[in-house]
């Protein structure tokens, strides 16, 4: 079952001017409920536009965006309610911080939703926990935090709405490996707790391989590929041809298979390749 579906969606920036650019051309794609779907593509492939379609920041020129089967633009005046259900974390979200305290900033969306005061406080503390922001930081000014902490507060500000679908544009960009793991791990926890679906935009193929169930690939304003992570990464050569890198480990696996070593399994994570190699080595040991 798909929670979000794009039905023949097209969008052009600057329509009717000499500067118009096609950002999406007849894109039909589904995002599976309860799963983590990765969205890959170059800068300018249309991914950012697609992301802004999902919570109604942009309205398709043609086609529909369906949330749980219903067109989100059926009642344009109620588009805000869609934004509460589809939480969007934009790239470098730390620039959205504005309030006096971390607590107030995380609670901003809840105040917009009209959530009762007591509940706001409780929810703020809960989501701060998901992203590893301790109780002691809640009364600080968000501007006194470190870069990584600011990022997490900003993400918590969207999680607070308890959206059914969470869309994140490069949530870990510019962070070191530990910071990446903490944020992506926190998102996985949130998903389990709230049975949410996640759509993750990232340039890091390693992260895609490690966290995503499904992958959607965009290229030149069009859909290039979609499927499970196994299916999409199996087309590593095609991906490389369109200039998208695959994890280093998949190159190792490809080279071994070329040499006639029959590796099998999830050959795009270190775990997967290690397992496949060990299976062969041990199988030989038993024989």
């Amino acid at each position: 079952m798909d929670i979000l579906t794009l039905n023949h969606v097209s969008y052009t920036y600057g329509r009717g001017t000499p500067f118009c650019v096609d950002a999406l051309r007849d894109v039909s794609v589904g995002f599976e409920k309860g799963k983590i779907t990765g969205l890959i593509g170059h800068t300018g492939s249309g991914k950012s536009t697609l992301v802004q379609m999902l919570n109604g920041l942009l309205k398709p020129d043609e086609g529909q965006v369906l949330l749980d089967g219903a067109d989100i633009w059926e009642k344009p005046k109620e588009i805000r309610s869609v934004r509460f259900r589809v939480g969007l974390v934009m790239q470098y979200p730390e620039y959205q911080l504005f309030d006096e305290t971390v607590r107030a900033d995380i609670g901003f969306a809840l105040r917009n939703m009209g959530t009762p005061k007591e509940e706001i406080d409780e929810r703020v503390r809960e989501v701060a926990g998901f992203v590893g922001i301790g109780e002691d930081l809640l009364n600080k000014s968000p501007f006194d935090l470190s870069g990584g902490q600011k990022r997490r507060v900003a993400i918590a500000g969207v999680l607070a709405m308890q959206p059914e679908v969470l869309v994140l544009d490069e949530p870990a960009a510019g962070l070191d490996p530990r910071g990446r793991r903490e944020i992506l791990g926190g998102l996985c926890k949130y998903r389990e707790k709230n049975h949410a679906s996640i759509i993750l935009v990232s340039h890091s193929m390693e992260d895609m391989a490690a966290y995503c169930d499904n992958v959607v690939v965009m290229r030149g304003a069009e859909l290039f590929a979609q499927g499970t992570t196994v299916e999409v990464f199996a087309r590593a050569e095609e991906l490389q041809k369109v200039g998208l890198d695959t994890p280093q480990i998949s190159h190792v696996a490809a080279k071994l298979r070329e040499a006639g070593i029959p590796l099998e399994g999830e050959l795009y994570t270190v775990d997967g390749v290690a397992e496949a190699v060990l299976k062969l080595l041990r199988g030989e040991g038993k024989a």
């Binding site: 490996p177 280093q248 190792v252 070593i261 080595l281």
Partner: protein
């Protein structure tokens, strides 16, 4: 090798809230030779950016000594003229490409530094053209800086530094905000500057795949130097790197896991080719490949 930069027992701390002092560097000693390509690796807050800012004299050390090109920069008789002389010799490329460009037209931005040096017009023209060619942006000389991609903007920023004819360029996480294509462009440019121009490179990053391309990797942790060696020496210490919150290349990690299972494999493979070759050898010694 001639020494270009030497730091002795360098310490620095930031003033925090109230009388709080946040130490950022503790007793760092480091020597960089002319023409070296050094990557400084470390997680956020490890002190690697502070080190860069000290070397470019944006910050002044609380204690310790910095010597650049034989000139000690931490003495009291160091004048403003000396300061600008050092800044010309040691250029710096920052993280956010938008926040380091002054002009709206590419070639005019590149000219900004040399213009400050007061060079005659013919020399300015020559240097700007040469710098743009070095970074492969000649075709964009008259373009608006605003419309460029992130990688192109960083290359223009690099050209702006090259036009001042520095001996050393410090890249302060200059790839952190770029997409993979932009990172490739900048990394290739850095390599070109080092190999073909002999410019000393200090590349500060937290991407281990970038660090692996350098001649030497310095790993920072908690304000001090935790490791210092060739990429092979550093990345072969998988457990140590993990403890420092860093990663190693996937190829290195795979062989590390297999070694722990008792297989005899090299520890210092960095590339997919090396790793695949090592595994092929292992398989063929056990007659698995046909």
């Amino acid at each position: 090798m001639k020494e270009l930069i030497r730091c002795e027992h360098l310490s620095f701390s930031y003033e925090g809230e109230g009388s709080n002092v946040i130490p950022a560097l503790r007793d760092v000693s480091l020597s960089v030779g002319a023409g070296e390509y050094v990557a400084v690796l470390g997680h956020n807050g490890s002190g690697k950016s502070t080190l860069a800012k000290l070397l470019n004299l944006i910050l002044t050390p609380k204690s310790g000594k910095i010597v650049i090109g034989g000139r000690e920069v931490t003495t009291p008789d160091f004048t403003e003229d000396d300061l600008f002389d050092i800044r010309r010799k040691v250029g710096m490329v920052f993280q956010n490409p938008d926040n380091q460009m002054v002009a709206t037209i590419v070639e005019e931005d590149v000219a900004f530094g040399p213009e400050n040096l007061g060079l005659p017009r013919e020399e300015l023209r020559r240097r700007v053209d040469d710098a743009l060619e070095t970074v492969g942006m000649t075709a964009y000389a008259q373009h608006s800086t605003h419309k460029l991609s992130g990688g192109q903007k960083q290359r223009v920023a690099i050209a702006g530094i090259i036009a001042m004819m520095p001996e050393c360029i410090i890249f302060d996480e200059s790839t952190a905000m770029l997409d993979p294509m932009g990172r490739h462009e900048v990394m290739d440019t850095i390599e070109h500057l080092n190999r073909d121009r002999g410019i000393t490179i200090l590349h500060i990053t937290h991407y281990m795949d970038e660090a692996a391309r350098a001649d030497r990797v310095v790993v920072m942790n908690d304000g001090s130097i935790a490791m210092d060696g060739t990429p092979r020496e550093v990345f072969s210490q998988v457990e140590r790197m993990r403890a420092l919150g860093l990663e190693v290349p996937q190829a290195t990690e795979l062989l590390y896991r297999l070694r722990r299972e008792g297989y005899d494999l090299p520890a210092d493979c960095l590339t997919a080719e090396e790793c695949a070759a090592a595994l092929k050898e292992l398989f063929s010694s056990r007659n698995i490949a046909e």
